[in-house]
Structure formats: structure tokens, C-alpha cells
């Protein structure tokens, strides 16, 4: 029982670590506040489920989840090339709401608000990931691969160029960096990994509905990124661990679920406010949007 509970939390930590790392690439490294990240997560989940339930193997659904989410990332990078700061944030928010609206209304395809139940557990080349242990191993491997791929990307010229854009876009451009291409790549790669996380989530929970992929989810990912530190991949993992575990004790003190839900959100929001005011660099972050913020500590 306790073992199952711990494995469940570990699986969630893996999924959310992928989400927060991929959001960190877009928001923390490239400096573009993305309020539509949950839409990539949802697109990946729906893409994978619809493909697998149409009779195709899991690995195909999984890769397609990333690829289709990446395509939408490419679409969303178009406003990112023209807008800055809060205007981009609003555009990404609108994108997230448009996707949610489509998931709710395109009922022939998504069953709308009813959601899709009975999603099969993955099976890859004859290995069934139907137990908690097996699923944890799968989630852990994917999260580890995501970490190493992103780490490699961000240590390369690509990562350095992204940071340069965040620090000063004009200077980056004057040094011969193709700013538009780099921003597009950040969105595509970030969306790709969020899509993979969506597939992993859907086949674990075995039920998805549009209500899962809402703004509140993006805010949770953003909080993980901010807590761990903008521009710190390891920080995002730490942020995911802390924020998945933090509300768990609330379950055990016997509060009714109508209290636990809002209380959890209040705790998240309060941490976020105190954090950005008192420690804007997060726990492991080196910088927050360049040199603009001096750490108040």
C-alpha cells in the first residue's frame, strides 16, 4: 500500500519534471513567458491516446505525441517572434484556451467533456508496463533521457545563444545569432517534451478529459520552474519534487477534499508571491531574466 503510494508519487515527479524542464527551456532559458504549456501537454496526451486506441502500437503514439505537440510549438512560435513580454504571455494564454476549447467541442474526436476512459497501459515490443514498478521504470527512463538531451542541448552553442537572447536580443542578433530561428527551436523542443509527458500521463492515469489541461496546470509548471530557478534544469527537477510532495501531508490530516483542493492552491500561490519578491532567482537559479533583477538576499 505504502509502496504503491510512493511509486505513484515518483511517477508523477518524473512526468512533472519533464514538463517543468521543457517549460524552463522556453521561459527560463529563452525568456519567453509561456502560459499555454498545458496545451502542449494536452495535445500530446490526446494524440497518443487516439493513435493507440485506433490500434497502433504505443511507441508510435508516444513519438507522435511529441511530434504533434512540436508542430503546435512551431505554430505558437509565430507570435513569439513578433511579441514581447506580457503581450506574448497573453497570446500564449489565448492559444491554451483555444486548444482547450477545441478539445471540449470537437466531440466526435475527443468525446468532449466526457473524456476518454479505458486508455490501455503501454506495451513496448512485448514488454507490458502495467504494474506500478514497470511504469515507474518507464517514466524514469524517459525523464532521464529528457534531462540528458536537454542538458546536452543547453550546454551547446544553442543553450548559450538562448541565454544571450534572454539577456539582450539586439546584442545576440548583432553577434550573428539567428534570433527568430532560435526562438522557434526553443518552442518546438519545449513543446516536443511536453507532448511526451502528455503521452506518459495519459497512459498512466488511463483517463483524460479537457479539464486536466487547463491554465492551472501551466501555473503549477511555472511555479516548479520559478521555485527551482529560471534557467536551471536541475532546479526544475527539484521544483517538481518539492511541489508534488508538498501538498501530500494535507491528505493525512483528515481535512475534507473540498478544503484540501483550494488549500493546496493557496499554498502554491503564497509560495509563488513570497518567492518572486524575496528570492527571485529561485533555489538553484543563477539568474532571472538576465541582470535585470538583483537578488535581494
Amino acid at each position: 500500500m505504502i509502496e504503491a503510494y510512493i511509486l505513484h508519487l515518483l511517477i508523477f515527479i518524473c512526468i512533472y519534471a519533464i514538463l517543468s524542464m521543457s517549460l524552463n527551456l522556453i521561459t527560463g532559458y529563452a525568456g519567453m513567458l509561456n502560459l499555454g504549456h498545458a496545451a502542449f501537454f494536452g495535445i500530446g496526451a490526446y494524440a497518443s491516446v487516439l493513435i493507440v486506441m485506433a490500434g497502433f502500437p504505443f511507441w508510435l503514439g508516444f513519438i507522435a505525441a511529441g511530434a504533434i505537440a512540436a508542430f503546435f510549438g512551431l505554430l505558437l512560435s509565430v507570435p513569439a517572434l513578433r511579441l514581447r513580454g506580457d503581450f506574448l504571455a497573453i497570446a500564449t494564454l489565448a492559444f491554451g484556451e483555444i486548444i482547450r476549447s477545441i478539445l471540449v467541442n470537437w466531440t466526435e474526436f475527443t468525446r468532449g467533456p466526457l473524456g476518454i476512459p479505458g486508455i490501455p497501459k503501454p506495451e513496448i515490443f512485448g514488454i507490458a508496463f502495467d504494474s506500478l514498478w514497470m511504469y515507474f521504470i518507464l517514466a524514469f527512463i524517459i525523464a532521464a533521457v529528457a534531462y540528458f538531451v536537454l542538458r546536452h542541448l543547453l550546454n551547446s552553442n544553442f543553450g548559450i545563444a538562448l541565454k544571450a537572447i534572454r539577456e539582450n536580443e539586439s546584442v545576440a542578433a548583432s553577434l550573428g545569432k539567428n534570433v527568430n530561428l532560435l526562438k522557434m527551436q526553443a518552442f518546438v523542443v519545449g513543446a516536443f517534451f511536453a507532448g511526451l509527458a502528455g503521452s506518459l500521463f495519459a497512459h498512466y492515469i488511463t483517463f483524460i478529459d479537457p479539464g486536466t489541461f487547463v491554465l492551472g496546470e501551466t501555473i503549477l509548471m511555472l511555479l516548479m520552474v520559478a521555485l527551482g530557478g529560471m534557467g536551471s534544469l536541475e532546479g526544475s527537477i527539484l521544483g517538481a519534487i518539492i511541489l508534488i510532495l508538498l501538498p501530500e501531508p494535507l491528505r493525512f490530516i483528515g481535512l475534507p477534499s473540498a478544503v484540501v483542493g483550494p488549500l493546496r492552491q493557496i499554498i502554491y500561490a503564497a509560495i509563488l508571491i513570497v518567492l518572486v519578491i524575496k528570492k527571485p532567482r529561485g533555489l538553484l537559479g543563477t539568474q532571472w531574466f538576465g541582470g535585470i533583477v538583483s537578488d535581494s538576499n
Binding site: L33, V78, P79, R82, L83, R84, G85, D86, F87, A89, I90, A91, L93, A94, F95, E97, I98, S101, I102, V104, N105, L215, G216, I219, L222, A226, A258, V259, G261, P262, L263, Q265, I266, Y268, A269, A270, L272, I273, V276, I277, P280, W288, F289, I292, V293
Partner: protein, 291 residues
Amino acid sequence: MVLEQLAVNGIIAGSEYALLAIGLTLIYGILRLIHFAHGEVAMVGAYSAFVVSVVFGLPLIAGFFVAIAAGALLGIAVNRIAFRPVRKQHILIGLITAIAVSILLQNAIALFFGNDIKTYNLGAVEKGIEVFGFIITKTQIVIVFTAVALMLLTWAFIKKTKIGQQVRAVADNRELAESIGIDSEKVIACTFAFGSALAAAGGVLIAAETNLAPMMGLMPNIKAFAAIIVGGIGSIPGAIFGSYFIGLAENIGIWFLPSGYKDAIAFFILVIFLLFMPTGIFGKKKEGIEQ
């Protein structure tokens, strides 16, 4: 005839959005910051009126005025907690604190009142009356007239009062305004109080027409964002024009599309304007947008 009826519905929706959009655009004008928790201020206003009219049993009009006062106070508090401490920092930090405040308010209300839908108990379902061939309820008539009256009040506040003049001065050039002795922090607080009071009034009107829920402010606030982008950010006539534009577009749009896409229409217009006409119809300056 159905199309004309949809247009009437659009005007009612536009009147509600306008009350939120005016505050958003005033606050943007003065701080260059999008007030993300503005919809939650409207929501708290609606719940204050609920306490007065349903819990204490007083008439809704009393609740309306209490909501306006509560909205003004909340606006000042939000400025103090979320915006003032991060004023010197990057613009995205102000946006993140505002998002946090909006989650805080939604869940605080959910904790006290529950997540279920509430109403003002305005009696049995109103039967619409026919005005010039349109079906419209008395509540809806009151909504439109109250909204227009508040818009005229805004005009008087901005153009005719001393503090309104100072608001315009600070929005125009903060340093210059400070150099002639205007206390810009006081002006910012007044702008938050005024804009938030209007939002709270808008919240009561929305709740009177539909119902109350902790999430009720989110969508109208995004519609109000869309409205101020369409009208030209920072411009009050633009905000009002944009609100009616969005209200009409989403209501007439469902003549052509399934009604479930009503919200998506407003977001689509928002993205199109951001991409191709970011200064909006009445806007002049290119603020925050790549040249």
C-alpha cells in the same frame, strides 16, 4: 430575427466586459502592466454583493454599493501585495505575482463559499419582455444602463477631476509628473481603487445575469484583455469599443459556428490583433511590442 437577437446579446456582454476593460486599460496606461487578477477582483465584488443580499437579506442595490467599496479596497491591497514590491523588477515578475494573486483569491473564495454555483435569488426565472421586437429581461436592461452610467462616470473622473488629471499625467510621463510634485504612488493607488471598483460593479452585473462561482472572473477578464488589444491598449474609448466588438463578435459568431466555440472566437480575435494590428484600432504607441 435570430441574428438581431444575437446582436442584442452581444451588446449586453459588451457592457459587462467594458467595466473590466476600463480598469485594465487604466492600470496598463499607468504601469505598463497587465493586471491578471482583475477578473478575480470582479469575482470578489460579486461575492460581496452575495453576502449582503443573500446572507443578510438586504436589497441587491445595497450589495452593489458594498461590492464597489470592497472592489476599491481590494484593488489597493492587490497593488500593495503584488505590484508595489516588484515595481522595479522585470515586467514578467509583476505578471507572475498577479497570476498568484488571482489563484489565491479564487481559492480563498472556494474555501469559504464552496466551488458550487450560487445565485442572487432574484426570484423565479425572469420572463423576457419584448422591446422593439427583441426579447430582453429587465435585469439585462438594468445591466446595460448601469454599465453606460459607469462609463460616463469614468469619463467625468478622468476628464473633470484633479485626480483624473493626475492619472493622465502619470500615464503620459511618470517622471515629468513627479517633477511637478505629483505623488505617483498615490495616483497609482487611486487608479487601482477606481478601476477595481468598476470591475467589482461589473462582477455584480455578470453574476446578476448568470450566477456566481470562484472561477467566474477568469473568462470575462481574458475577454477584457482581448477588448483592450482590439481597441488599442491604454485608451479608454478603445477599451469600450473593443468590449462591444468582442461581445458582438462572439455572439454573432455562434450564428456560423457551434455555440461551444463562443470563447474561442474572442481568443482568436485576440491572437489575430496581437499579430497583425498590435496597436489596436484607437492605439497610437507601440508599447512592449517589437518594432
